[in-house]
């Protein structure tokens, strides 16, 4: 049924910038993520990934530029924009003293899941993240991998159209990494005929991108360096590693020029 009319993009960033005094963390980034796309937001550490995601999710205001989430402007309709996002920050925002179920239920109420639907929504999120068996455990007692799953569960509990994950596998062991990746791929997969959720996933781990994403946005020193579907990128430019190192090794070549 595709191709009827161009649907509004799920995420639309126009010249987003963030300055801290003289330091420019993000410098005029523009991109679009279409509905149902799974996009890898790639870049070396310190490239401005987290700052960009924080602007999109409403945690930080942009110094310049604008953005829309599911059609809602983050400045003029911030509550609607935030309502449309499920966000897993780099550090999962957990209350260590709460149980898994009461925590996810609390987040559901913050995200305005109607009281009558809350129990089902929580059960569904726990189920999808493989947390059903630990629902009454205290978060403090969980392993890091399980805490990350709880972080995912709070991001999806209100079934938002847009999911934003900031380095979801950082600091996990290889088995946990595989599990979390599987979960994210599963979240992005269409289920019983519904529109799949849009996922923007930041990472500096390249295999993660090839495992989950259909498109890559590469940012470097606060600017967009590349924005291409993964398959055409691979056929035109070789491996992701080559592209990544070509873009980021521009440093040494550019620096003397900038000083001159």
């Amino acid at each position: 049924m595709g191709g009827m009319s161009a649907p509004a993009a799920a995420i639309e960033a126009r010249g987003l910038s963030k300055r801290y005094g003289d330091i420019v963390a993000v410098d005029g980034i523009s991109f679009e993520v279409g509905k149902g796309e799974v996009v890898g937001f790639l870049g070396p550490n310190g490239a401005g990934k987290t700052t960009t995601l924080r602007m999109l999710t409403g945690f930080l205001p942009a110094s310049d530029g604008s953005a829309r989430i599911a059609g809602h402007d983050i400045f003029s309709a911030p509550l609607d924009a935030r309502r449309s996002v499920g966000y897993l920050p780099e550090l999962p925002p957990l209350y260590p003293e709460m149980t898994v179920e009461s925590y996810v239920s609390y987040v559901a109420s913050l995200k305005e899941v109607a009281r009558a639907e809350r129990r089902d929504a929580v059960a569904h999120a726990l189920e999808r993240c493989g947390l059903a068996d630990v629902r009454s455990r205290v978060i403090r007692d969980l392993s890091k991998g399980f805490r990350q799953r709880v972080g995912l569960a709070q991001a999806i509990v209100h079934d938002p159209p847009v999911l934003v994950f900031d380095e979801p596998t950082v600091g996990l062991d290889p088995i946990q990494i595989r599990e979390i990746r599987g979960l994210i791929a599963d979240l992005a997969a269409p289920r019983h005929g519904e529109q799949r959720q849009t996922v923007l996933l930041s990472t500096h781990i390249l295999p993660e991108v090839s495992a989950i994403c259909s498109r890559v946005i590469l940012i470097h020193r606060g600017r967009k360096a590349l924005d291409q579907p993964l398959d055409s990128l691979l056929s035109e430019q070789g491996s992701l590693e080559e592209v990544f190192s070509r873009v980021t090794s521009g440093d040494e070549a550019e620096l003397p020029e900038a000083n001159a």
């Binding site: 801290y20 924080r54 999710t57 409403g58 945690f59 930080l60 205001p61 509550l79 609607d80 935030r82 309502r83 996002v85 966000y87 920050p89 550090l91 999962p92 925002p93 957990l94 209350y95 260590p96 003293e97 709460m98 009461s102 609390y106 987040v107 109420s109 913050l110 995200k111 305005e112 709070q154």
Partner: protein
């Protein structure tokens, strides 16, 4: 404002899953019992002293409200200066330390809802503490006949002071991610507002240093909680004192809101 209840409820549950609430409540009840006993003994010995001298007139002036309940509630107010920093230190600092600030600020809620939710949680705890303290003068109604109005005015005064201290402590907590820092800053602020400013007025008047500075004295006296609290203990519920508590609470809530919001300015 629909999220205020959810935020307050979570905060209260976390009070009671951590040990802080129980430790504070246990100490509060223990010290209340001790102060109350001391007040009863002091009252009793005063009665027997006056009876010994057959001072009928003074005996008639002696009453449970002014000479027992008042001094007991005054002790509890003093104790609250130390109790409330422990209750409020985590209100906002813990959210920063946990990283849950990022959850709150990316959820569809306003900063006022966060600030009021925290205040309602602290205020509910303050109500529990006031009720524990009120239990002791309440016992006197079984054995004597204190004035109901005066007793209630005193209990209300303790509750309003507690709410004020919750607002001040919440503000201190919103400035830092470190609960110990929040505790110490709150203690400092409560000392200043509760004890030092009123004492400065007293010393200043005694040493004539503040004579001719009547405007300054009035301002300082107004800022301190003591004057307002003591006037209510005598049974006078006046609008100027209620306005004082309202203004200080609203002022600190506004400061807290600004501090929480300031994350976004960085």
């Amino acid at each position: 404002m629909k999220h205020v209840g959810a935020i307050a409820g979570r905060e209260l549950r976390s009070f009671f899953t951590s040990s802080v609430a129980y430790v504070v409540l246990a100490l509060w009840a223990l010290l209340a019992a001790t102060f109350f006993l001391a007040s009863v003994i002091a009252f009793d010995s005063e009665v027997s002293r006056l009876q010994q001298f057959g001072a009928v007139e003074q005996l008639e002036l002696l009453n449970l409200n002014d000479h027992l309940i008042g001094s007991f509630l005054f002790s509890m107010w003093f104790l609250s200066i130390f109790a409330f920093p422990a209750i409020t230190m985590g209100l906002f600092a813990a959210e920063r330390a946990n990283g849950t600030e990022e959850l709150l600020l990316t959820s569809p809620l306003t900063i006022w809802e966060i600030v009021l939710g925290k205040f309602v949680a602290g205020g509910t705890f303050a109500a529990v503490m006031t009720a524990v303290a009120a239990f002791f003068p309440g016992m006197l109604f079984a054995y004597g006949d204190p004035e109901v109005g005066k007793t209630l005015a005193g209990v209300l005064a303790l509750f309003l002071v507690s709410l004020t201290y919750v607002a001040i402590g919440g503000f201190a907590s919103s400035l830092t991610r470190n609960q110990l820092v929040a505790f110490l800053v709150t203690l400092g602020l409560l000392f200043l507002v509760g004890l030092m400013i009123p004492q400065l007025v007293v010393f200043g008047l005694a040493s004539d240093a503040l004579s001719g500075q009547s405007a300054l004295v009035e301002v300082m006296r107004w800022i301190g909680t003591g004057d307002h609290f003591e006037r209510m203990l005598t049974g006078l519920v006046e609008s100027r004192d209620l306005v004082y508590f309202g203004v200080v609470i609203a002022g600190f809530l506004l400061l807290t809101k600004t501090a929480v919001e300031s994350v976004r300015w960085r």
